[in-house]
Amino acid sequence: MHELSLLRSVLHKALEISREHGNAPITQITLQVGALRLVDEDLFQFAFDASTPDTPAAGATLCCEKILARVLCTHCESVFPPSEPVWQCPGCGRFGGRVLEGDELILKSVTLADASAGEE
């Protein structure tokens, strides 16, 4: 359940942003999650709900945008969407490849309630 440690770092940053804006309530946190990341979204949501009460993030929506995986075959340079567990190049039939996309785990944005006070 490493989702809890991942979430801790997300919340840390989100709360910092809220603080910079006069503790404005957070309404949404948007992440980009590559398909190759070992992140269970339900566990992530669960950890989120369990960690946010009594913080400006209470009641916020956790939004995970999925990024599909793309892999480059280092033999024939085909680019293909890998399917787990076996990555097989449709061009030459070889196994493996280099990840082009799908390994992202990014905090994309934090949305604050509009009525927030004390900002520029």
């Binding site: 490493h2 097989q88 493996g96 990014i106 994309k108 944005s109 949305t111 927030s116």
Partner: protein
């Protein structure tokens, strides 16, 4: 109001791992991160390996466990410097824990550092500890489909060890299927058979580890 951030969630861990890797490189220490399910034989292999390299390489060990110092006691019996990290239930090691642990070693006097991760085939995969090589163990009683169930772990392995081969006559284990899975998930690293409790079966592993350790001592890389 949506405020763009665009920051890696694991940035803090990855930044520390980067610092650690630089520090290891300066000190000429080769670092191995051992990952497997609980009970696959990580501590047994460490004991056998420490004994094998005694007098040739200066080795230290970091033990990661949810609780207890039992594994550290096993290692300490071999006269090897060891730090036990208790994650208090945590399912993996993180770079900041390793950073704290290495403060207790004289890194410059070491040739290799073995980190035994918490027994788990998912969570440790996502956390860089500044290691140079990942050593993945799987033991024969666990079944031959492990590489298909945990492809990312096997994909990131620098070496894959099939342990408890002494039990092959007694457990259902399809070696051909296992090799096919390994080959398709990590074509560059075929599985090496060992019985961790019997050093005479570990020669291929010793040779691999020795090449990595001496290679690094000669050429500071990356």
């Amino acid at each position: 109001m949506e405020i763009p951030v665009v920051q890696k969630v694991l940035k803090l861990n990855d930044d520390i791992a980067l610092l650690l890797r630089e520090r290891f490189e300066q000190a000429g220490v080769v670092v191995f991160n051992f990952i497997s399910a609980p009970g696959s034989g990580k501590t047994s292999l460490l004991e056998t390996t420490i004994r094998h390299f005694r007098g040739r390489f200066a080795i230290a060990v970091i033990e990661g466990d949810p609780d207890s110092t039992l594994d550290a006691q096993r290692i300490a019996r071999h006269g090897c410097p060891v730090v036990q990290i208790q994650t208090s239930g945590g399912c993996h090691l993180e770079a900041n824990l390793v950073q704290r642990a290495i403060a207790q070693f004289d890194l410059d006097s070491l040739d290799a550092l073995f980190i035994e991760n918490v027994g788990n085939m998912v969570c440790p995969v996502e956390f860089d500890l500044g290691e140079h090589h990942r050593v993945v163990l799987v033991s024969t009683p666990e079944g031959s489909d492990k590489p298909a169930k945990y492809p990312k772990l096997f994909r990131t392995a620098g070496i894959i060890l099939l342990n408890k081969c002494d039990l092959l006559p007694y457990v259902p284990f399809d070696r051909a299927q296992f090799d096919t899975y390994v080959q398709s998930v990590n074509p560059e690293h075929p599985a090496v058979s060992i019985t961790a409790t019997r050093p005479e079966t570990c020669t291929a592993w010793f040779a691999w580890a020795e090449a990595k350790i001496t290679g690094r001592m000669a050429v500071p890389a990356r």
